[in-house]
Symmetry: C2
Amino acid sequence: MPNASPAPVTTPVTAVPTARAAVRALSNSKIREVANAGMGRAGVLPFWFGEPDQVTPEFIRQAAIDSINAGETFYNQNFGIPPLREALADYTTRLHGATTPDSIAVTSSGMSALMHVFQALIGPGDRVVAVTPLWPNLIEGPRVLGAEVLRVGLDFDARRGFHLDLDRLLEALTPATRMLIVNSPGNPTGFTLGREEQTAILAHCRRHGIWILADDAYERIVFEGQGAAAPSFLDLAHRDERVVSANTFSKSWLMTGWRLGWVTGPAGLIEDIGKLIEYNTSCAPTFVQRAGVVAVRDGEATTRGFVARLKHARDRLHAQLAGIDGIEAVAPAGAMYAFFRVAGVTDTLALCKRLVAEQGLGLAPGIAFGPESEGFVRWCFAASDANLDEGVARLKRGLAR
Amino acid sequence: MPNASPAPVTTPVTAVPTARAAVRALSNSKIREVANAGMGRAGVLPFWFGEPDQVTPEFIRQAAIDSINAGETFYNQNFGIPPLREALADYTTRLHGATTPDSIAVTSSGMSALMHVFQALIGPGDRVVAVTPLWPNLIEGPRVLGAEVLRVGLDFDARRGFHLDLDRLLEALTPATRMLIVNSPGNPTGFTLGREEQTAILAHCRRHGIWILADDAYERIVFEGQGAAAPSFLDLAHRDERVVSANTFSKSWLMTGWRLGWVTGPAGLIEDIGKLIEYNTSCAPTFVQRAGVVAVRDGEATTRGFVARLKHARDRLHAQLAGIDGIEAVAPAGAMYAFFRVAGVTDTLALCKRLVAEQGLGLAPGIAFGPESEGFVRWCFAASDANLDEGVARLKRGLAR
């Protein structure tokens, strides 16, 4: 039996109860809108979300199970359990140079890592510059904190693919700018910053005291060059300057559903992020973090195997896309997306809705990543050969109509 | 081999890189400060944190293990998986009257539920009123968003314990107030709002369009009265008005370390909170939510057993505290804390540091919950008889020095 019945509302409510205007103005996901258009249709090939199609490896899952069985169901430290901070510091040292655990904070997903950085550094009216097209969360997150986000679009041509006009970016990075957001390798474009570009950007940002936030979710997913990771601002910067990296277990170790990420940055900032973690999620579950420790320590073969599979998929998909009239696709240097232009299409949201409804092909519209990529479509190629081939067949049928 | 060596910093950095001022000004936990004073000392009795001393029941843990084994390691819905939203809607309907899943959003902890409500409703300069002493996170959370939090202190006397001056609260709730925060049963006081007080507060807030945020973490932990839960604003309010409840799996089902919570509120607000979840944590792990489904559906005996154990502990502890000279303790109506005054003590932070260092007794200082509770000490009594008895012996020795 409920405790009581509602009391009559004696005074009319002045307005419909909703969130504040800044929150109402946040975008709804246009990818979700396409997915909704395919709701109820069987056999849809879901290339729309940025998610590998493989289950987390068994040895990583087992670490979580062992922890749950051992009764590790209590609170832990805001910054993450010490073994995970240490494992991440060692991992970062291997990839990017000397890093100590006090430069690391563990968060409840890569998104949570980003939001903590936004909360720590961004206030109302701050000017933030982002290189676009971009995963929309990197634009909307700062807006939750009241920032104004200026977009600097990459250029595209069918020979070079996406590339950066460095002068235009540096011009946008005025002394009044609080933060630059870069995602390299990038979602959705696969664009990957070169070492020379990074060096120039870092020097400029140092000069003006601008924070660099690098979303390094895809740093391991690179197809060119001999390094184990993409060129990173962490390679160039000292740990005690205005460079922050947000990262995630989702891609490198096939752990999207675990919601585990981390921030690497100046120890003084990490200290304050620890306070913010207390007021956001307090900590990530110990058993999730135990899985994270095993992934970081023993997961190198998982990462390399995943990257090899992606490279194969990238090449297979792009070879086929090259044969379709009206499609301009350039194989990306990193990340896990084909992001290609479809000639004559000015409304990719409508196109993607039609493709899912009529052909059962789930792709993400370019407009979801910003106005500058209208006309493009994103295809996550973390998928099997059979699914990729069938997807291409459906795309051909869909475009022929 | 790291990718490269740090580039020399050619221009001096203008200031030490730290978070923005509003974040730097957030309080550090004074409970943590006491805990640090006991670092390295063996055999400390840890009554300082608000955490049950029991592992999560096996049947709940097994649901998570089954899900991990089944490969549920992928993204899921922002609002939570449908079976959990449905189970929570049924649960809320049983306790508080008709509630549908579209009034529920699942979050990555009770703290995360609160932070999402703050983000949705609070902006810079907003006036927030909180009934204190209070868990500091409920004060600091709104401050992250730039709010000014006005404290309305409960009164205390050794006969009635903590009680509310209703007129003073209503006076503080001016038409310009954005939100009232109430935690009932409350941490640290155990203060529990009565039905008449709730009715008056709701009528007043309706009149002025003030949001009520009820932190209902302890709603099941009540020792008086015949209801299964404390009187709740959800009993009185319609689901489509300005009343929001934040809740957690931590206490009712012994799941602190799982980081799972939920928000109940108007469907229009929940819609916007879904967008915010995308930009904060995106979703809670599916396997954690599967454990949550089993807890909500099959965990009633767990909750009732835990409450019975707490009632026994409350009575045992307070019987002994009553025999100590200079301690004023009133057994609380709910929650899981003794919050008692120690005569002549004006610096409980120093007292608690001394108690842990000299006696191995871990208590939380009243000042951690606000200036109005300086002179008080919090003791979490979710503990065994033996530990409670030994704790009292240590307290006596510590106060005698």
